[in-house]
């Protein structure tokens, strides 16, 4: 039961942490996408599933003109060739950004690299690596130098490669002669716009202004990003919560029943203790203490096994459940461990209270006679 509780909590917490890390990584208050492409972009950012969505570069000026907007940065979404020999994933999501306006990757570059990316250089999500035995990554026959990896987020951003728009254009040009099929970037097209609003402005107000003033695009406010997924997760969480409460009630009854049987089988033993001088209180707390020890041991094993299993299967969880997942931090797991231990203790105390009380009140001579 403790293991089940921990598993569910770890998965939900892992997904939540992952979403937050992903949103922090994007760093945008609003993401503007072509109208009708909302779910495609969300899936791309959430699961790293490449997508082709395009809108005119004219929107950069139109959006920038909306009052309350501080920065606008375009991004181009591309994908690698299927079966590319570069990465842990077969088909990879590629994001080209404009270094002049970008606020998603550039702050990280300044902190970790101390400079901007040059043409031909890339930054990868945590899963991106240079294939063994090679000096760099080759995409569309174009050599890319991996300059670093971003911290894991558990989302599709971990399987995403970031480079400047210059690199994207160079790769597209090169692909005409070097790739099995060319990388096509439609002229004067972008995939999305990352928006930061001014500090005194509310993102929701700006979103409403974009909806009203700029036709053909859809603004997704950062808190609403991955909204469909969050909605599904919330539904799942409710189901788990109800199952958990039902299981907890049944388990409490079951533990109570088991301890009633155990205590009943040891009535004579307990009667001997009473005859030898044990008080009712001694008997009562001994039964509770024994139950608590068992609960601690069982919960400890359950929690450890669950945490270990979830850790080992974290990639499978992401793939099979199609959800983002970031394994929670050590301190979160410790807090969870303490919570589960406390919950186990409360459960066992509630369950065993009645049998312990009954046996402590029984006349020893009656138990001995039986």
């Amino acid at each position: 039961m403790a293991g089940f509780f921990v598993s569910i909590t770890l998965i939900v917490k892992g997904a939540d942490d992952s979403l937050h890390a992903g949103l922090d990584r994007l760093g945008a208050d609003i993401v503007v996408v072509p109208e009708g492409a909302e779910s495609k972009v969300e899936t791309a950012l959430l699961m790293g599933k490449p997508t082709d969505v395009w809108m005119s570069t004219d929107y950069i000026q139109k959006i920038a003109a909306v009052p309350g907007i501080d920065s606008v940065s375009p991004q181009i979404y591309l994908h690698s060739l299927y079966g590319a020999s570069c990465c842990a994933v077969s088909e990879m999501f590629l994001v080209a950004f404009d270094p002049a306006t970008d606020f998603t990757i550039t702050p990280w570059l300044q902190r970790n690299l101390g400079r901007e990316l040059d043409k031909g250089e890339v930054i990868g999500g945590s899963y991106i690596f240079v294939p063994p035995g090679q000096k760099d990554i080759m995409l569309y026959g174009y050599h890319l130098v991996l300059r670093g990896n971003l911290e894991p987020t558990g989302t599709g951003l971990d399987q995403t490669m970031f480079f400047t728009s210059d690199t994207a254009l160079a790769m597209a040009n090169s692909s005409l002669t070097t790739a099995e099929s060319p990388l096509v970037i439609p002229p004067n097209k972008i995939s999305s716009l990352m928006i930061k609003v001014t500090p005194e402005t509310d993102a929701h107000t700006v979103s409403l202004r974009i909806l009203r003033d700029v036709l053909g695009v859809f603004p997704i406010e950062s808190p609403n990003l991955f909204g469909e997924f969050r909605h599904q997760m919330l539904g799942l969480l409710w189901v788990f919560l109800i199952v958990l409460i039902l299981a907890w009630v049944l388990l409490t009854l079951l533990i109570g029943l088991i301890f009633s049987i155990v205590v009943n089988e040891r009535r004579q033993e307990i009667a001997v203790l009473r005859a030898l001088g044990a008080t009712r209180w001694f008997v009562f707390r001994s039964v509770l203490f024994e139950a608590a020890l068992l609960a601690f041991a069982a919960a400890g094993i359950g929690v450890s096994l669950a945490a270990f299993t979830i850790y080992i299967l974290r990639d499978s969880i992401t793939n099979s459940l199609e959800m983002p997942f970031l394994f929670p931090s050590f301190s979160s797991i410790m807090a969870l461990l303490v919570t589960v231990m406390a919950l186990s203790l409360v459960t066992v105390t509630v369950a065993v209270f009645l049998p312990a009380f009954r046996i402590s009140k029984e006349e020893p001579a009656v138990a001995m006679r039986e």
């Binding site: 001088g277 008080t279 009712r280």
Partner: protein
Amino acid sequence: MIISLCNVTKEYNLDEETIITPIQNVSLDIRQGEFILIIGRSGSGKTTLLNLVAGLIKPSSGEVLIDNHDLRNMTDTQLSSLRNRRMGFIFQFPSLLPSLTILQNVVLPTTFHSRHRKPNAHKRAADLLQMLGLGERKKVYPRQLSAGEQKRAVIARSLINEPEILLADEPTSDLDERTEQEIMTMLRETHANGMTIMMVTHSTDLIPYATRALKVEDGGLLDVTAAKQPLTDAVRECA
């Protein structure tokens, strides 16, 4: 006098209509240093009498006094402490805890009341086991001992807190004749050291070991060492 029963009656409700009265209006004084044997047929109420003296059951009416303290007026802690410090028990059934070694079983009664805990419990337990011939077997578990050895371990446990009264319920039942002799010899030696003993048995052969033998019959007590004089023929005026 350390134990006094005054007009004690114990009734059991077997069901809504059937009430049995194994002990009816019994009065009895047990003086310090006596070796009282309680005899009678199975189901006559011998164990009930022993349990009343130990405070393990409450009388339906009457008083049980230990050193003039009425057991009815004692709290559970006081009664438990009294049993722990001043009484030793030998039960009819195998009463050693199977999960503890013999030494741990013997030490067990010293652990209940920390306020009255005596020092060197383990050493005293080891000495007692040595004295009773179980010195080499103190680290084994009860299931590894014979019935006679288990009884001897129980005697050691009953003596660990140096009680004033030893209450023994059929300590020689299910034992062969030789082991019975050994156990009775041990009890006689314990009595010779000043211990008050109240022992229940169905065997009249053991009467010679006692200073007084009482027979439980029809709810009352007969003194069989004094030509079957009834002890409870009249309601006694209790203090």
